[in-house]
């Protein structure tokens, strides 16, 4: 009898230990905090469904903003991801613990990342078909349009490179943009004008947030 109880407790503990990480993985990493127009979300193994304000966002989810549509995801740690119209992006990995990397896969369109909170040794990156760009605390705008990848930094430094040339990592200073025009082309770092950055921010910020920004400026 004693032996049976011991075995049962061991089995139970093992089951709990196996289930806890799964529960952690399944926990939402953020939620949809703004939505404008027609946006859908595709969860792993499911068909796309209309995204609604307040919907949880999990690791592996794909968000798609259609024409004249925008969306904003606020992660649990306060970082923000904004989608411009015509954008499709996957929250491939989001882990806000120390020494962990979070990254999105931007399939098309344009995103704005407001990275306010990053733990020690961690990184936040946006990957496109041809480039990788990351930051450690800034506003990062990424786009992948007509085969051209770009990363623009508003304030605070970052880095980026062509996926096919990982040895050639470029430092991107605040107010600079890195452009990768083709898979076989070296990244080009160039100044980004204030008007250019404003345009990108405008493209990616939902109207309600623009109102807030406008009010803050007044």
């Amino acid at each position: 009898m004693k032996r049976t109880i011991t075995v049962a407790v061991a089995v139970l503990l093992t089951a709990i230990m196996m289930l806890v990480p799964l529960a952690v993985l399944a926990a939402p990493v953020g939620k949809i905090s703004q939505i404008e127009g027609n946006v859908d979300i595709t969860r792993a193994g499911q068909a796309a469904m209309k995204a609604l304000l307040g919907d949880p966002v999990n690791q592996g989810d794909i968000l798609r903003a259609k024409s004249k549509s925008k969306a904003e995801v606020t992660f649990t740690d306060g970082n923000i991801l904004r989608l411009a119209e015509g954008t499709r992006v996957r929250i491939t990995k989001y882990d806000n613990r120390e020494n962990q990397k979070s990254y999105m896969d931007l399939f098309r369109g344009k995103t704005q990342s407001v990275v306010k909170n990053l733990q020690k040794g961690s990184a936040y990156e946006v990957h496109t078909a041809t480039s990788i760009a990351g930051v450690r605390g800034t506003i990062l705008i990424n786009f992948f349009i007509n085969g051209v990848s770009g990363a623009v930094l508003k304030d605070g430094p970052g880095y980026g490179y062509n996926k096919n040339m990982p040895g050639d990592v470029k430092t991107i200073a605040p107010g600079q943009a890195m452009i990768v025009t083709a898979p076989d082309q070296k990244p080009i770092v160039k100044p980004a004008t204030a008007a250019e950055i404003d345009q990108h921010i405008n493209d990616t910020t939902p109207a309600k947030d623009q109102e807030k920004i406008g009010r803050a400026h007044v």
């Binding site: 068909a47 796309a48 798609r64 399939f107 098309r108 992948f144 085969g147 200073a173 100044p191 345009q199």
Partner: protein, 518 residues
Amino acid sequence: MRKIPAPVPSMAVLFMLCLLILTPCAFGQEAPDLQAGIRHYQAENYEEAIDILTKYRQKDPSSSMAAFFLGMSYKQANDIPSAEGQLRDAATLTPPVRQAPVELIDVLYQQGKFEEAKQWIGVAETNNLFPAKIAFLKGMIAASEGRYQQAIEAFDQAKNLDAAYTQSADLQIGVCYMNLRKYDMAKQRFQTAITQDPLSDLGSFARRYQDLVEERSFLERPLRLTVGLMAQYDTNILSEPTWNGFWLQRTGTDFWERDEKSFKYLTTARLDYVPILKGPFTFNASYAAAASFQEKYSTSYDLIANTFSANPGLSFGRFMVVLAGNYTHVMKRNPGYQRYSENYTVGPLLRYMPAPNHILELSAGYAGKNYFEAVTQPQLWDQSSRGLDSYIAWYWMFGARGGLLNLKYGFSTESAHGAYFDNRGHRFTVNFMSPKYWLIRAQVGGEMFLQDYQNPNATFDNTKRSDQTYTLTAGIYWDINRHLTIIAPQYMKTRVFSNIFLYDYDRNVYSVGLELRF
């Protein structure tokens, strides 16, 4: 009659039940359906459209409509290479989709496949397919190939055929004029594009291009005037030797003990002429004047220098050959301004760009110097000379904010009228200009110049003079705007080690000033 045993109908019922349960699973997967694919495309569900239309094309490879919508879905999903094949099928299958050639030309253009794109333009023009759009794409391809005048004509045609193209055509025409360096015309077109719809994306692009044109037209202006005003404090205005014991021994007087520290005011003006020539020809010329006014010894040390230079050349892409020539005339007060010296260099300069942002330069020139002040025993003391002045240099322009690193080695020979001044020199230079941050640049430079004189000097115990000159410069430059730079401060140290004490000296110059550009 034999009864059918009871289990048999039970098995049959079970089989039918299984069939009923399983059948919906089998048919539940969406069958390849062209209309469903098109509906997904129209709803901007491009990934779903690709999935369905790919299956449909496998089932019916001859459907041009399926090929077209699959190609368009790939195009919208940014998978341009996959779009190309589908759109080509849509344009060639029967019946061909009327819009397919236009979309195919666009994806070919995006991939830089201009030759095939031009063939399809021919097809579209023959069949009068979407003439305005085709004219616009024709313009885009011509512009990408550097045929700007033809591109402008095509964009104008697109505008005339369809008013909807007016703003984008004006923007593209502006870009063409910019590349043709016709900046006024470019500005005009950008302004037109802005006026049409100032709040649109194209209007915003046009504004950015207008700023760029403004900047470029300033940088590439053919006549450039630069004026510099600088206040200096020089710790050794007379280049006095560090040790004067020799003269003390010989003359019994402390001959060189003078107050060698002085403030100095330096003004410079430079006029550059840099015309833009057609074909491989290049040319630039400049005139520069510099005047220095000393606080002390002004009647014997104030200088006025005039320099002329002209550099005609030929450019062959990454390779350039220039005939570089310059002439400098110096006048010195004594006590009125009198001609003091002249020097000139003329010779070829080869410039090669091995990689973007890297320049290699090789120069070898014939150099001459004439000094006009009379000297006793000119066969020994006249510094006038002829010789070779050559160098090899590497420039690396790094970063988007204008960082520069320059390494240079120079070799020179001087065959002087006075035997004591025949010499050979090796000059090693390194210069670093930091990228610009918050309008500020920093510059640091160092030079080592080793000069070996060829003949013993009887005045100094038959010593063969040997000089080692070390120069260090450092400065901060504040670019207020494109017209004004403040130089504050700049420091230059010169230390000459010579085996003849007379030429051994130490000098520090501190400067502040400004540079104006027009």
